[in-house]
């Protein structure tokens, strides 16, 4: 670690829980290099988790395969014009990547969030990666991110991707000194937001199709069990992708509720033994109620102080979201609440233990 630098951190959560907002705020602090949405695009919305964390030593080419190449789910979304709003790279005149080429994982959001010229930064990253000797994947990511941190004149890097509670075990395993900020939002509001989000729509449909076909439909052309797919999932197959149907569809709320609960239960289990120095839990609702106080805790946890940033300016970015589960019809809200219950129970138990 360079002199004066601090251990890295990951902001983890279920996705649709307010973590994007934290990234925007993080990027305003001069001591922090904010790496946004790297893991979610590297894992191709959760379809390439094992490939993102390969075992053994990984050479430069292997690392570049993960970061510097487009992945199929994102490419499909890009080509079908249903890319999620978080993807910041905008193909167009003078830009290197387009619908035909696909956009590499690191160029989708991470680099455009750092610079107005992501193609040049992409080349810079490629040059750094090329020089890396073979090493375990965590060391490779760390070497790259540390270098980018130093280039930016920051003291630490913080990676934040939607839905990284799913890979928190791997993050702990590969980033031994990393700290974690877990942001939690009421599962019912989270589920409501997930049900309307293109990324979750594709990821949750992909999970179902994968289990029915026995292969990842975006990586394999094996359709032996296509007859088992319900009609509702057919428009999600890459070869029959129907962008209009995709846009019209809404992921069932109970499915999102069960998913939220599952992420909480499994994620909290992975975070359970972290010391308070390594884990900070933030509630999104607290952030809405008292943003200044929550942000102060946030920066104190990361940097040891909350200096160097105008917290009032940060707080001004925070707005109450429009979606509210309380406005759902009674039976729908009740079913959603039932689906989320294991997550709430796990949170309550976790809070009790921490206390």
């Amino acid at each position: 670690m360079s002199p004066g630098s601090l251990p890295p951190a990951f902001v983890v959560g279920t996705g649709r829980c307010g973590s994007t907002l934290l990234t925007r705020i993080l990027s305003m602090h001069p001591d922090i290099l904010s790496l946004s949405e790297l893991m979610i695009f590297a894992t191709d919305l959760g379809g390439r988790i094992a490939e993102t964390f390969p075992e053994g030593d990984v050479d430069a080419a292997g690392l570049w395969q993960i970061l510097g190449r487009p992945h199929p789910r994102q490419t499909l979304m890009l080509r079908q014009d249903v890319m999620m709003a978080e993807a910041l790279y905008r193909p167009g005149p003078g830009r290197r990547f387009d619908r035909n080429s696909g956009i590499p994982a690191i160029a989708a959001t991470t680099l455009p969030a750092l610079t107005d010229d992501p193609d040049t930064l992409f080349d810079h990253v490629a040059a750094i990666v090329k020089e890396l000797p073979p090493a375990p994947i965590g060391a490779q990511y760390t070497a790259l991110f540390d270098r980018l941190r130093d280039d930016a004149g920051a003291r630490m890097w913080v990676e934040r991707s939607g839905g990284t509670l799913r890979i928190v075990r791997r993050l702990r395993e590969h980033f031994r000194d990393a700290r974690f900020v877990h942001i939690v939002r009421d599962g019912r509001d989270t589920a409501l937001s997930m049900s309307r989000h293109y990324g979750f729509r594709l990821a949750l449909a992909a999970a179902q199709i994968t289990e029915i076909l026995g292969v990842d439909p975006y990586e394999s052309t094996d359709r032996r069990w296509e007859g088992d797919l319900p009609d509702s999932l057919i428009p999600y197959l890459p070869e029959r992708f129907d962008a209009e149907a995709f846009r019209r569809d809404e992921t069932p709320l109970p499915l999102c509720g069960h998913y939220w609960a599952g992420e909480l239960c499994a994620g909290l289990e992975e975070l359970r033994d972290l010391s308070p120095e390594r884990l900070l839990t933030l509630r999104y609702e607290d952030l809405l109620e008292d943003p200044r106080a929550v942000l102060e805790r946030f920066f104190r946890f990361l940097l040891g102080h909350a200096n160097g940033i105008d917290l009032d300016r940060c707080a001004a970015l925070i707005h109450r979201p429009q979606s509210d589960w309380r406005k759902l019809p009674g039976p729908v809200a009740a079913e959603l609440s039932r689906a989320c219950r294991p997550g709430f129970d796990a949170l309550a138990a976790f809070a009790g233990e921490v206390r």
Partner: protein, 368 residues
């Protein structure tokens, strides 16, 4: 020496029929086979060898010199077979076992038009006897004692059942031919080896459970092992499974006899398990918490609704109480106990298939 023309000879029941015909006759067998982009004869031989192996027999011992393929497709006029063809008996086993709405045209094309074209080819070939493999579940939603008689499609619960009723109508009305309609129940693997070559019925049901388990695991780890799912089924009703070798043995015995035209149930009858017990066993093999059973009109929560929808095709198997009468089949078969085969335990059949599926699924992306 007779010539048997078999459609669907690369399928589960059709393949077993060919092996049984080889055993019971010295006749010539012609398998109408889709080339599927390759050589029809090679495809037929490969599928028969696979079937023989699945049923514990050495493929090299089969008298395959008495079998040949004719390239064709039941969805084409006269099955797309050009030139002269001579046969005495048609065994019509080709069928689509799909069920989703999006396959409605394919199901009708294969099962109804396919039967029409198979009969047209048979007529041209001089066939005098038609033995059609249908299904006991043309009875659809009817309950109680199901007789070996004509049923209309009033009880049909899906495109498949409707198509099989229409196909039976075509066979029954085929003029100038002796027409037997053979109705197996849910065909499962070999009575001794458990082997099967295609996977519908109990296997499709088991596969749907395995897929559902996987989806649950991706959504919420461990949920399937702790949450008791509720299923709308008639738990106490019997579910009729019959081993593929029993179907083939009984079908060929009836087909080679002087049994008259009409319907014959190829069902197991006695010794069949209850629906609830069968589902409990499959669920246990997959590690699910013990399921609960709900009445047909009982509301389910969202998760249980999803499984309920996926099992809809199996509604005729698991909802309603029905016993298949076998009077005509018994009369045609006479007192030949060797034609009845023991039904392997459902748990062993399911476990055999689950192992196979899990082997196939080793390369799936990890959940976390």
């Amino acid at each position: 020496m007779a010539i048997h023309l078999v459609t669907g000879a690369t399928g589960f029941v059709g393949g077993a029929l060919v092996l049984e015909l080889l055993d019971r006759t010295n006749d010539e067998i012609i398998g109408l086979t889709r080339p599927a982009g390759g050589d029809a004869n090679a495809r037929l031989m490969a599928s028969l060898r696979t079937a023989a192996e699945a049923y514990g027999r050495a493929p090299e011992d089969l008298p395959l010199h008495r079998v040949r393929a004719v390239a064709g497709d039941v969805t084409l006029p006269e099955c797309g077979v050009d030139g002269a063809l001579r046969a005495h008996v048609l065994w019509h086993a080709a069928a689509s076992l799909r069920y989703e709405d999006r396959y409605a045209d394919e199901i009708r094309s294969t099962n109804v038009d396919g039967t029409r074209q198979a009969l047209a080819l048979a007529r041209r070939a001089g066939v005098e006897v038609v033995n059609q493999i249908s299904t006991a579940y043309v009875s659809g939603s009817r309950q109680g004692r199901i007789h070996e008689e004509h049923y209309d499609d009033a009880g049909a619960q899906n495109h498949y059942e409707r198509s099989k009723v229409a196909a039976e109508d075509l066979v029954r009305n085929a003029s100038g031919m002796l027409a037997r309609i053979l109705r197996p129940s849910i065909v499962v693997g070999h009575s001794r080896t458990l082997g099967a070559t295609t996977f519908t019925g109990l296997y499709g049901f088991t596969r749907q459970f395995l897929q559902y388990r996987g989806v649950l695991e991706r959504v919420q780890a461990g949920m399937y092992a702790t949450r008791r799912m509720r299923l709308r089924v008639s738990a106490d009703a019997p579910i009729d499974f019959i081993a593929v070798d029993a179907v083939a043995a009984q079908a060929v015995a009836i087909g080679l006899s002087d049994a008259p035209s009409g319907v014959y149930h190829l069902t197991q009858g006695e010794g069949c398990p209850a629906v609830g017990d069968s589902i409990r066993i499959v669920a246990k093999e997959l590690g699910f918490a013990e399921p609960e059973f709900a009445a047909p009109d009982e509301p389910l929560d969202w998760l249980d609704e999803q499984l309920d929808k996926r099992l809809d095709f199996y509604g005729s198997y698991v909802r309603g109480h029905r016993i298949f009468d076998r009077s005509r089949a018994e009369s045609a078969l006479g007192n030949r106990p060797e034609l009845r085969r023991p039904l392997p335990p459902v748990g062993e059949l399911a476990a055999w298939y689950i192992r196979r599926l899990e082997d196939e699924r080793r390369q799936m992306p990890v959940v976390r």
